[in-house]
């Protein structure tokens, strides 16, 4: 096995949510999760709903603070960086969300949404950003007449593409994909995942793919981690994991998915 450099390494990451009301119990959403993602690869995080997989994604992007643990991105501990110093990383690490219906501001046109990266970061071609945007989204298979529309007039699959196009304007090195296709139809899911794989081959971006669909994860990731109730129960290279699942929970999951196919 050759040595691969990890672009992102998560060590003993934990998150405990405080009780939401008096006398309630604190909820341990994530407990001591560690994994590493090699550069240019996809790491699939699989688990049933409520197992804490989205929380991990949000902690990596620093949308919510972690209770404990470290996240190393190219050797730098992201969680230890001060708010101000973190800003350059906002370009390099991005996140794609689950619900297309709330992923774009309904009061803005698609064009306004796509201008945001230019307003927030010093990107090349800022003077003629509208032209750049037009060119850019056409390479994502979107027609430029979409730009004048509002979110409510655009289908879910197209919104996810628009959001992805916006993310790619920033040229990130790492993207957290939080159930990017769970609200989409199968044919649109196939288009989306195909596009993501194409981008990976072209630009070498790495993904953390979070999903509850084992078939999807198997198809799209190089390495897989299985989560249950906040813990990482098993992780391995994709084919090794499916060839010889060690944990009972993994076996049960695989069985449940195979069940439907026969």
């Amino acid at each position: 096995m050759c040595v691969v450099i990890a672009i992102l390494e998560v060590k003993n990451l934990s998150k405990t949510f405080r009780a939401s009301r008096l006398g309630g119990k604190a909820h341990r959403a994530v407990e001591n999760v560690s994994f590493a993602i090699p550069a240019g690869q996809t790491y699939g995080l699989m688990g049933e709903s409520g197992c804490g997989k989205s929380t991990i994604g949000r902690m990596i992007v620093r949308l919510i603070p972690a209770t404990k643990g470290q996240v190393f991105f190219r050797g730098a501990d992201l969680l230890a960086i001060k708010q101000r110093a973190f800003r350059p990383y906002r370009r390099r690490i991005q996140m794609l969300f689950q619900h297309p219906s709330t992923s774009l501001n309904p009061r803005m046109t698609v064009l306004d949404s796509l201008r945001e990266p230019f307003l927030l970061h010093d990107l090349p071609g800022r003077d003629c950003m509208d032209d750049r945007i037009r060119e850019h989204i056409e390479s994502f298979g979107l027609q430029s007449e979409l730009l004048e529309r509002r979110t409510s007039q655009v289908s879910g699959g197209q919104i996810q593409r628009i959001v992805l196009a916006r993310i790619m304007l920033l040229e990130p090195e790492f993207i957290v994909l939080d159930e990017p296709t769970s609200m989409l139809d199968v044919s649109v899911q196939a288009q989306m995942m195909f596009l993501l794989q194409e981008l990976q081959e072209r630009s070498g971006v790495s993904y953390l793919l979070i999903s509850h669909d084992l078939d999807l994860i198997r198809r799209c990731s190089h390495r897989i981690g299985i989560m249950k109730e906040g813990r990482l129960v098993e992780q391995n290279e994709t084919e090794a994991l499916f060839g010889a699942p060690k944990q009972a929970y993994t076996q049960e999951l695989i069985y449940n998915f195979e069940c439907m196919k026969n």
Binding site: F97, S103, E116, V163
Partner: protein
């Protein structure tokens, strides 16, 4: 139909504002000119709506009355908006201990019914425009900020807020570009209803002798003046009451239309 009513209401409201601003030019007579010889006169060519018990021109008093009502209503609502919006935004957007603290204070201020609050503050500060403004703002900012906070709480969970944060947008940027535009419509409804209730409060306080004081021209004072004379001549009461009702009606229609629009917005989002 709804749209027609809305435009009617909007025209009436704008007319009131216009009349209020240009009262000096529009009013045919001096509203305070007393002419005891001509008291309680019926409408005539000289006095289009007749005169009151002191012989003052009723129409001119109505026109000057809309000035004080409109001015106080808009100014007080503006102050409430500024205070309530800021506090509500901070409380809803940032959450945490600031939210808890603010909500504690809001709960206390909401613990006293608003009319009682206004009256008490006025009683302690003494009557007058300034104390009226203070009383209205102090008694209504809490409810206002609560509504803003609840709206913001709903929006804070949306992916586009998270997306903007992940792209490196500062809090100020996110509030300006994403939060404010999305609470605008509910905010407009809130402002409309507040203006309506403020006009009512001002009239009520003036009526009780706690707000503006006679001989100022104000609808509430006119109703108060009329209470001894309306038995014989209902006109002196009807005129200010109609103005007040018309103003409230236009506000209610506008708020109703905006609220419908709000639902439609949500509906289209759901269907597609």
């Amino acid at each position: 139909m709804k749209k027609f009513l809305f435009y009617c209401a909007l025209t009436i409201l704008i007319a009131f504002i216009f009349i209020g601003i240009f009262a000096d030019l529009i009013a045919p007579m001096d509203p305070d000119a007393i002419n005891m010889a001509n008291s309680l006169a019926s409408p005539s060519a000289e006095h289009l709506l007749g005169t009151d018990h002191l012989g003052r021109d009723l129409l001119s008093r109505l026109i000057y009355g809309s000035r004080s009502s409109v001015f106080i209503a808009f100014f007080a609502t503006g102050c409430t908006l500024l205070l309530g919006l800021t506090i509500g935004l901070v409380s809803g957007y940032f959450g945490g201990w600031a939210d808890q603290l603010i909500q504690g204070v809001v709960n206390i201020f909401q613990g006293i019914p608003s009319t009682a609050f206004v009256v008490a503050v006025l009683g302690l500060l003494g009557p007058g425009i300034k104390s009226l403004l203070i009383a209205i703002v102090v008694s209504s900012w809490a409810r206002f900020s609560r509504v803003v906070r609840n709206q913001v709480l709903g929006i804070r969970e949306m992916h586009y807020i998270e997306g903007a944060r992940a792209m490196g947008g500062s809090n100020l940027y996110i509030i300006r570009r994403h939060v404010l535009p999305n609470i605008l419509l509910p905010l407009l409804v809130l402002i409309a209803t507040r203006i309506g209730s403020t006009v009512l409060t001002v009239a009520a306080m003036s009526f009780l002798g706690l707000g503006l004081r006679a001989p100022a021209s104000d609808w509430g004072i006119m109703i108060n003046d009329a209470k001894l004379y309306f038995v014989n001549d209902f006109r002196v009461l009807l005129a200010p009451a109609t103005c007040l009702t018309l103003f409230c009606l236009s506000i209610n229609l506008i708020a109703d239309y905006l609220r419908d629009h709000l639902d439609n917005d949500a509906d289209t989002a759901r269907i597609l």
